[in-house]
């Protein structure tokens, strides 16, 4: 009441203090209201403060303790874990193993000489003067030895040397040694993939994971390849045996699932041990199937006749003049075993007549020939998951002479895997499926497939392949029960820019079984030598074909192909169905 009176009295003359007070309380506010407002302000202030403290306490309690979480991870070095690589049955092809590595902190060493003495006692392969020099330096950290055994680690640990410690590092291990070397490739000392599927892994996000330091744990899902370790071993073993028997420079082989394009086995001898990767630098150990290009010889006749049959202008009953030699400009085309008569298409194929193939290709025309090979992917670089690939050597000016020579597999060099892809398309009903090293389902393969020839043509080609094993150049590959079909090829090797008379490259494409194709096998031998039992011959039929037969006999049971005895000959079984389907 008094304040009210005072306020009322002062009203006519407001001073600046009253104006300021009026801003906070209003001019007419009494003291009780003022006091209440102040108390309210204080309550608000304390409430906020206590809320902040409470929130902070909750945060302390709720958030995990970083100190504990990080305790387990010490002693592990860089984040370079890689996913395991498995074969199609889940066998380990490549895995990470933690190995302890020894390091020292020279500044914390008390007695360097004593340390040298004790360490060399446990690790005799350490070089003592070098070790002394390293430990005598004033550096903070030096590696002493990588990849210790558990026993060595225990011994050194027991000596209790100060300034000596262990770090666990991931080390890539390939338990199968050289057998799958060209498929999986290898890694460098820092666990980065530098060849084969290992490099593909890095290219597919693993490298980024390493950069970010996230790849510490083993929880990455393993990568499953299409390769079957058992088939791979059988192929490797037989090729190694042929390498010795025929004294070849190199030998290579592929097994391809013709329905899905999966590469079930791939061997290129000589190979290397990925656990010991400096061998891989040797140029003779390259993967001949993807990194090398070769003139495939007569196996290319399969493409020639497939083109002719697919065009419809040539049937199995057509015949071609095989009188030799065939004169083309300055060149003469010879047959290996001249027949000098008219040959039907099956005869051309089984006798592997160069002249006949040349005439067949010519009758189709140069452009059609080129277009057909292009369609089958023989003129472009084949890219698979493997980082290594070679571009085919295609003649720059493709004239009639080129068509003639390419008809029987000379003058066009392709990567053997590429030829395998093409022949697989001729066998599987006419679908070109890019080969893969990863597991693939039938549905995925169907989505990728492109039709290149008619199914009837494929049937006729399979008949020709089977006929060639029954009474053609591939007779020595016959294994009863598996109904193998095949085409041989022998190419003179190019040495110093000229075709050599003495060294050849022989290859053999086999399809098992010929009536319901499932797998295609390629055997390729580089410069096989004449043996007493080959009667002076070194054409494919005497070396690559028997090797192919031996491989089929070993791998067919592994691939689940049941032998069927008493199957009729190709003329009865396949020609009839080919006619009916037409």
């Amino acid at each position: 009441m008094i304040a009210f009176v005072r306020n009322a009295m002062k009203r006519p003359l407001p001073s600046w203090r009253e104006i300021a007070r009026g801003l906070f309380y209003g001019v007419a506010t009494d003291r009780t209201a003022k006091a209440r407002a102040r108390v309210g302000l204080a309550i608000l202030f304390f409430t906020v403060t206590y809320c902040v403290i409470a929130l902070r306490l909750v945060m302390f309690a709720a958030l995990p303790d970083n100190r504990i979480a990080h305790r387990g991870g010490s002693g592990d070095a860089m984040a370079t874990a890689r996913p395991d690589i498995l074969d199609r049955n889940g066998e380990v092809l490549a895995t990470d193993v933690r190995v302890p590595s020894l390091f020292a902190e020279p500044r914390r060493l008390i007695d360097a000489d004593e340390a040298v003495e004790l360490l060399t006692a446990d690790l005799p392969d350490l070089d003592a003067p070098e070790l002394r020099e390293r430990l005598g330096s004033r550096r903070g950290f030096v590696w002493l030895k990588r990849d210790l055994t558990a026993e060595q680690q225990r011994q050194i640990y027991r000596q209790g040397l100060p300034g000596i410690g262990f770090l666990n590092e991931n080390k890539r291990v390939y338990p199968n040694g050289p057998e799958v070397s060209h498929v999986i490739g290898h890694v460098n000392i820092d666990n980065q993939g530098i060849a084969g599927m290992e490099k593909w892994l890095d290219g597919n996000g693993l490298a980024a994971l390493h950069m970010a330091g996230l790849a510490t744990d083993r929880l990455q899902t393993p990568v499953q390849l299409a390769v079957d370790l058992r088939v791979q071993h059988a192929l490797h073993d037989e090729l190694a045996a042929s390498h010795v028997k025929y004294k070849t420079l190199a030998a290579a082989g592929v097994v391809l699932d013709v329905r899905t394009g999966e590469i079930v086995a791939m061997v290129s001898e000589p190979d290397y041990d990925p656990n010991n990767p400096h061998q891989a630098l040797d140029p003779t150990r390259i993967n001949r199937l993807t990194t090398g290009v070769f003139e495939m010889g007569s196996t290319f006749k399969a493409f020639t006749f497939a083109m002719a049959l697919d065009s419809g202008k040539v049937t199995l009953k057509s015949s071609f003049d095989a009188h030799g030699p065939m004169q083309v400009g300055r060149f003469q085309i010879h047959d290996f075993e001249p027949e000098n008569r008219m040959l039907s298409v099956p005869e051309c194929f089984t006798l592997s007549s160069n002249i006949c193939a040349a005439r067949t290709a010519l009758s189709m025309g140069v452009e059609a020939h080129k277009a057909f090979l292009k369609k089958l992917g023989q003129l472009d670089r084949l890219r698979t998951e493997l980082p290594e690939s070679a571009e085919p050597i295609v003649p720059r000016h493709w004239g009639e002479l080129n068509t003639i020579t390419i008809a029987f597999g000379h003058g066009l060099s392709v990567a053997p895997l590429q030829a395998v892809m093409g022949v697989a398309a001729l066998m599987n009903g006419g679908l070109l499926i890019p080969p893969t090293f990863l597991k693939r389902t039938q549905a995925e393969a169907d989505a990728l497939a492109t039709r290149v020839i008619k199914p009837e043509t494929s049937e006729m080609m399979r008949y020709l392949m089977r006929l060639n094993v029954e009474k053609g150049t591939a007779r020595r590959a016959e294994i009863p029960g598996y109904y193998i079909g095949g085409k041989t090829g022998t190419a003179d090797k190019v040495v110093n820019g000229h075709y050599s008379k003495n060294s050849v490259l022989t290859d053999f494409m086999a399809v098992i079984p010929a009536d319901k194709p499932r797998y295609l096998l390629l055997i390729m031998l580089d410069d096989p030598k004449v043996l007493p039992e080959t009667h002076g011959f070194k054409t494919s039929g005497w070396n690559a074909v028997p090797v192919g037969g031996a491989v089929v006999a070993r791998i067919a049971p592994l691939l689940g192909i049941e032998p069927r005895m008493d199957l009729p000959s190709a003329d009865h079984l396949m020609l009839v169905s080919a006619r009916e389907s037409r």
Partner: protein
């Protein structure tokens, strides 16, 4: 008075709550320690498993097994002609004794009308009678 009792109750609840929270926190710390320890153990186990798998892969390598098999086993690779399918099997020969008959020897004796039995006891109902010894067919069955 009522206000004071309320205050006391609130203070008591506060102390209880604090004690409870402390216990939860302590427990969770213990659990976290255990978790970290188990994680470390899992990691070690996993590394050990990887090491053993690598070792097993090495021991299970087909090349190694083949070398050992060649050295120590009389086995040879199977030939395609050695396979046979079920429908190529010949028919099963007719049973001498009805399966499930209670007295196989007796039934057999009735059937064959051979020499009198000299056996002591019946050993198992399913087993065919030991006819080779009694009926003189030893040469044929060998």
């Amino acid at each position: 008075m009522i206000l004071r009792i309320l205050n006391l109750i609130v203070v008591g609840v506060l102390i209880l709550a604090a004690a409870y929270v402390y216990r939860i926190k302590f427990d969770s710390t213990v659990q976290a320690e255990r978790l970290a320890k188990i994680r470390g153990e899992i990691r070690r186990e996993r590394d050990a498993i990887a090491g053993l798998r690598a070792k097993w892969g090495e021991l299970d390598n087909p090349a190694r097994i083949e070398a050992l098999a060649k050295r120590f086993l009389p086995l040879k690779p199977i030939e395609s002609t050695q396979y046979s399918s079920l429908d190529q099997l010949p028919e099963r020969p007719p049973e001498l004794v009805q399966p499930g008959s209670q007295d196989p020897i007796g039934a057999f004796l009735e059937d064959s009308e051979a020499s009198p039995a000299a056996t002591g006891s019946v050993v198992g109902a399913e087993r065919p009678p030991a006819r080779t010894n009694t009926s003189g067919g030893a040469g044929a069955s060998r």
